[in-house]
């Protein structure tokens, strides 16, 4: 059970790290790479708190082994803001709407919302609700999430048309 070398890209940076074969992607991100944005809620893929992107798709990082992302691109909440720390329009909107209550689910919700808007820039309310259906908020703060995501979609669309 020797450690294995994991090579992948995390938030745009090439990463090479030694990991145990039985370590999940979530644990490798948190423990080995210090990226504590993704959270472990249930550990069984039900709550969405550990949501990250792998090759642009949302996944439950608690259900992947770290070695499964070898050669792939991983993006966590730490990689959502621009490198100069300018917040992503989704993050701006979440701040403006006061979405976070306890905050535990928010990194996962933001990553689910970011993937949704990349695939569907102008989602309906129904599509937004479906897009974050895999993310549980035990503070039940869904209404403000939907409003913030809808507003961010508008911001992104107007930025896109301004270019």
């Amino acid at each position: 059970m020797a450690k294995q070398i994991l090579q992948c890209t995390v938030n745009g940076e090439p990463v090479e790290v030694l990991v145990q074969p039985y370590v999940t992607l979530l644990d490798a991100l948190r423990e080995d790479l210090g990226l504590t944005g993704p959270k472990e809620g249930c550990g069984t893929g039900d709550c969405g708190a550990c949501t990250v992107h792998v090759d642009g798709k949302v996944v439950a990082s608690c259900l992947m082994l770290a070695m499964q992302v070898r050669g792939r691109k991983v993006r966590t909440i730490e990689g959502l803001a621009a490198p100069d720390t300018t917040l992503h329009p989704l993050q701006e909107a979440f701040v403006r709407h006061g979405v976070p209550q306890c905050g535990f689910c928010i990194p996962g919700v933001l990553m689910a919302a970011a993937a949704l808007l990349e695939e569907n820039p102008r989602p309906s309310e129904e599509e937004i609700r479906y897009g974050i259906a895999g993310n549980l908020c035990r503070c039940t703060g869904y209404t403000k999430m939907v409003a913030a995501i809808s507003e961010a979609a508008g911001t992104l669309a107007s930025q896109g048309s301004a270019r």
Binding site: M1, Q4, Q20, P21, Y22, T24, G43, T44, G45, D46, G48, T51, V54, K57, V58, V59, A60, C62, L63, M64, L65, M67, Q68, R70, A112, A115, G131, A133, G134, N135
Partner: protein, 286 residues
């Protein structure tokens, strides 16, 4: 999780070599959405995990004369694949019902089948579309009809030194339509109380082939053969659909559990058979 060795094969051949040596103590890892929770719970304690993410052959969908679906193709890929959403729509519908998006981007069709839960959503459409499982082993490849793949709760025909490589689905042909529906207490992220897949092929106003497969009403997915036979050779009238829906109950041997009683499950078989046959007929005629 308990510690284990992790093998990272790059081909079906490499994978079979590993299984030949350590198959009895190994688990194959496709999407991991069933395997990892069971390992975290200590229900499964493999000494070796064999990751299939590097095996290209099991990750591809080919649409030609029929559909070939790699065993490690994700539920999400099947949900959005245009060819699957076309002639094989019941498969896409079943894939869209698996877990959340975060789970569907990982969960695979082969994992859903090999895990062999009686409630597996992707099994009934594959049974109804008469798919065959292509299984690789030390003696080469063999094909098993989907209807014979399951042998019990969480049990399949796969030997420890074998690998499910792909599913071959014959083209349903012109005049064929199908649907998969399930009942769950809530709309998303739930497990089927009952699932029904129907596939009807029509010619000159009569049914030339009917296939009905049920989930969550027996230890394995089952075909409702008496109901199928009642439809074949006949015009599919509302009365014929009602008769088939009643006959489908005969194929169900459900248990009572926290998700539903025997009586409720039989009622659902009737309702969902009626609904899926009605939709299948409309799609066959479209």
């Amino acid at each position: 999780m308990r510690r284990f060795d992790l093998a990272l094969p790059n081909s079906v051949e490499d994978c079979l070599k590993i299984l030949a040596e350590r198959g009895a103590q190994a688990k194959l890892l496709a999407g991991g959405t069933d395997l990892l929770p069971q390992m975290k719970d200590g229900v499964l304690k493999p000494a070796l995990v064999v990751d299939l993410s590097g095996v290209a052959r099991v990750r591809q969908v080919h649409n030609g004369d029929g559909l070939r679906i790699g065993a490690a193709v994700t539920a999400r890929e099947l949900e959005v694949n245009p060819a699957v959403r076309g002639a094989y729509r019941a498969i896409a519908e079943s894939a869209a019902l698996v877990g959340s998006l975060q789970v569907r981007n990982l969960a695979t069709v082969g994992g859903n089948l090999c895990n062999a839960a009686p409630s597996a959503d992707m099994a009934p459409p594959l049974v109804a579309l008469e798919a065959q499982a292509v299984i690789a082993g030390p003696g080469g490849e063999r094909r098993v009809p989907m209807a014979d793949f399951f042998t019990g709760v969480r049990q399949t025909v796969l030997a420890p030194n074998e690998l499910l490589v792909e599913l071959v689905v014959p083209p349903p042909g012109a005049g064929s339509g199908g649907q998969y529906l399930r009942h769950t207490p809530r709309r998303e992220l739930d497990i089927a109380v009952v699932g029904v897949a129907a596939q009807l092929t029509m010619a000159d106003g009569r049914c030339t082939k009917a296939r009905l497969a049920l989930a969550s009403v027996a230890p394995t997915p089952v075909r409702a053969i008496a109901a199928e036979r009642s439809l074949e050779g006949q015009p599919v009238t509302p009365e014929a659909i009602e008769r088939a829906a009643t006959l489908a109950i005969e194929a169900a041997r459900p248990i009572s559990d926290q998700r539903g009683s025997v009586e409720f499950r039989k009622h659902l078989v009737r309702v969902l058979t009626r609904r899926t046959l009605t939709t299948a007929l409309a799609r066959a005629s479209a």
